[in-house]
């Protein structure tokens, strides 16, 4: 039991260590922050892994994984909307193309009996990281194709075009059997680093380290995936924070605030917007890859406008557009509300049944009603969200508006 807790805590430590290191004041030298953060994070992780009952722990871990995937999507949207003011309501398109690309590249062609009812293209059996890169590239290319003709036009045209591409991508994956098994799920997407929880273990790990993970059973795999997912969020966050404080990030905000002024200052507005659109889409594509390898089997229904576009929008608006921490906070907070509301709806079942015998089965749609109302409420009464935009002139200087 203790051995397993040690192994699990090592996997849980990454996000906690990052949070702890971030919480330390900036005047502490970074090496000290890193070490202190790692120690504190690991200690907390160990206690959590030891104390929390396994059932609840499994729930928390899967919650955090999906929250991380949504955080990646919200970070991508933040580049487009939060910093540049691009209205993309086709997040599902980039999410789906990332997920399917990574899945198609990393799976192997079905053989034998499976080939009779499962069809797909590619099936290269490539490693996870190759799938992730391919997902980012595919989403970026799609963004170039959509953004090229529409970003130079009125801003609402982009919205229409992105709705269109999301529908088109969904239609293609729904109808083309040769590509990704059509309406049937595409199965057998490999789990990265699954060898950590399997019996022969990872051959490439030094034996002492491999021994550390020995107590983990295959059902503990979500812990491994949580480490991967949170690593994704942290890397994307750090890269974006860096980029947003660079001159490029300043141009993005200049374009959002006053396009004409940015153009007069000699900035190629159309080009900057296309760059931001593509960067955001690439991040969404990475989110898609992250999703595919977690789900193992995906089909077109996972990428409908509600789950893949609308929720991400409300997440970013809830957390605070133009703030990367807000995007992450909003993703976890809204995912918490969404899953928590499922419990509430379950509790309210007798009340619903009293109103109409049909209602209990439709209870889950109450969540949709609630989220739509929440979105309108934020728009009307709290446009800046929970945190609001972080104002800064440039790196390492004080905020303008305090």
């Amino acid at each position: 039991m203790g051995d397993a807790a040690l192994a699990k805590s090592l996997l849980l430590a990454l996000p906690l260590a990052f949070l702890a290191a971030r919480a330390l004041p900036a005047r502490v030298p970074w090496i000290a922050r890193a070490l202190l953060g790692a120690a504190a994070g690991w200690a907390v992780a160990f206690v959590v892994a030891l104390v929390v009952p396994p059932g609840q722990m499994a729930y928390l871990v899967s919650f955090a994984i999906v929250g991380s995937i949504y955080a990646v999507l919200a970070l991508g949207l933040n580049v487009q909307w939060g910093y540049t003011g691009l209205f993309n309501i086709g997040i599902a398109a980039f999410f789906a193309i990332g997920a399917f690309t990574s899945a198609l590249v990393t799976t192997s062609m079905p053989t034998g009996a499976a080939a009779a009812f499962s069809q797909q293209a590619f099936g290269l059996g490539a490693p996870f990281l190759a799938g992730v890169v391919a997902a980012g590239v595919a989403a970026g290319v799609l963004a170039l194709l959509v953004g090229g003709p529409t970003l130079r036009l009125r801003e609402d045209y982009l919205a229409i075009a992105t709705i269109g591409i999301a529908e088109l991508v969904r239609l293609v994956f729904q109808n083309e059997r040769w590509l990704a098994n059509g309406p049937q799920p595409l199965r057998g997407i490999p789990q990265p680093l699954a060898c950590l929880v399997r019996d022969p273990g990872c051959g490439w790990l030094p034996p002492p380290l491999a021994a550390l993970f020995d107590p983990l059973a295959p059902r503990d795999y979500p812990y491994v995936y949580l480490a991967i997912a949170t690593l994704f969020v942290i890397v994307v966050y750090l890269v974006l924070e860096r980029a947003i404080r660079s001159p490029w990030g300043r141009v993005l905000r200049a374009v959002r605030e006053d396009e004409a002024a940015a153009a007069m200052a000699g900035k190629d507005v159309a080009r900057v917007r296309l760059q931001a659109f593509v960067v955001g889409a690439v991040i969404m594509g990475l989110g898609g890859a992250l999703y595919a390898h977690y789900m193992i089997a995906i089909d077109y229904t996972h990428f409908d406008a509600l789950y893949a576009t609308f929720l991400v929008w409300v997440m970013l608006m809830l957390g605070g557009s133009g703030n990367n921490r807000g995007a992450i906070l909003g993703a976890f907070a809204l995912w918490g509300v969404w899953t928590g509301a499922a419990f509430l709806v379950d509790l309210a079942r007798p009340v619903l049944a009293a109103i109409s015998s049909d209602l209990p089965a439709r209870g889950p749609y109450l969540r949709l009603l609630f989220i739509a109302l929440l979105m309108l409420f934020i728009l009307l009464y709290r446009p800046k969200g929970l945190i609001g935009e972080e104002r800064f002139v440039s790196r390492d200087s004080q905020g303008r508006d305090g």
Partner: protein
């Protein structure tokens, strides 16, 4: 911007002249005709008979009539109120489900032969149209008006419309569930021969006739009434209209009532032709916006023309494409328009 200034200073260069020629109205119409001919040629190469193509074109006109009911409201709301109304498709769905609700209350009458529906559906249509219009106006009072007062940019209005769309759909899901529905389950809907072996269902002829009638009434309203004139003026130049003492509040109210009412009728008609599904309106958004942009935003007659073109191209493409791709075909037409002439057929140069 800098590029535009440079071009004005130096007079039209040959490349600029070429660009203008490509972006002309004639060029766009020629391009669309070329697309249609290309579709016919592709279908012909796959052995599709001319008769089938003709009947697809006839069906496309009927689909275009339904799309026009949605697109005209969308273009008015877009042009007059500056709201890219992403809730418009869901307003159509809302209308269809309101009619379904009414049918459960009313006693089912005999079908009006040769149609599959009874007189009660006609009564419901008359009731549903103002209800959907009021729903739109209510949304405006509760949400858009406050945003307008804050001088919110059009993307914020679009986002609010998106929220409204999901709000409406959640109500539909709660009220009727996610299953397919029909106005009349199990009633036969045989097709009759129209001419030259072209078969259509009588319902479809009724739908087309009703769409034309409503559009004619709208024409009278826009051209002959004072409110219609005010609406056209606001669509043309909102600031100028306001300065000239036009009753803005009345224009807003009537735009929603008319646009929403037409959407409601379109939703009922679409459901009569196919089925009711909570997502049906969302899937119609793409053809609707394509029609609106093709026919120039704010131009009601343009929306009609755009809807007919989109309807015919959509139906014709099914001769050799999986019919599921219909909205995708509409999207492809939209991309062509955005590439060559973003202001649409009836737009002024540099309008978009």
């Amino acid at each position: 911007m800098a590029r535009v200034l440079a071009r004005r200073a130096g007079g039209p260069r040959p490349s600029a002249r070429l660009r203008r020629a490509i972006g002309s109205r004639t060029a766009l119409v020629a391009l669309l005709a070329l697309v249609l001919v290309g579709l016919w040629w592709l279908a012909g190469a796959q052995g599709v008979t001319g008769q089938r193509l003709l009947s697809l074109a006839v069906r496309g006109v009927m689909l275009g009539g339904i799309l026009a009911l949605g697109a005209i409201g969308l273009t008015l709301i877009f042009g007059v109120l500056r709201i890219p109304n992403f809730a418009h498709g869901d307003l159509m769905t809302w209308g269809a489900y309101l009619a379904l609700f009414g049918l459960t209350l009313l006693p089912a009458g005999q079908p009006l032969a040769p149609f599959s529906f009874g007189a009660e559906l006609l009564l419901l249509l008359v009731l549903v149209m103002p209800l959907v219009g009021l729903t739109g106006y209510l949304l405006d009072r509760l949400v858009f008006r406050r945003l307008r007062a804050r001088r919110a940019p059009s993307v914020i209005l679009a986002m609010a419309a998106l929220g409204g769309a999901f709000l409406l759909r959640s109500v539909i899901y709660l009220g009727w569930g996610a299953d397919f529905r029909n106005f009349y389950t199990g009633r036969p809907r045989p097709a009759v021969e129209l001419f030259a072996g072209i078969r259509v269902r009588p319902d479809q002829l009724f739908i087309l006739g009703l769409a034309l009638l409503l559009i004619f009434l709208l024409y009278l309203l826009l051209e002959r009434s004072k409110m219609g004139k005010a609406m056209r003026a606001t669509a043309d130049n909102a600031d100028l209209a306001r300065i000239s003492g036009i009753d803005t509040e009345g224009v807003i109210r009537w735009t929603w009532l008319i646009g929403g009412g037409l959407a409601g009728a379109g939703g009922v008609m679409f459901a009569l032709d196919t089925q009711l599904r909570p997502e049906m309106g969302w899937w119609l958004m793409l053809p609707l916006f394509s029609s609106v942009i093709l026919g120039t935003i704010g131009n009601a007659y343009g929306a009609l023309v755009g809807a007919l073109i989109i309807g015919v191209v959509w139906q014709t493409s099914t001769a050799f494409l999986n019919p599921a791709y219909g909205p995708g075909v509409a999207f492809a037409v939209l991309i062509l328009v955005l590439l060559f002439r973003p202001q649409g057929i009836f737009g002024r140069p540099g309008g978009a």
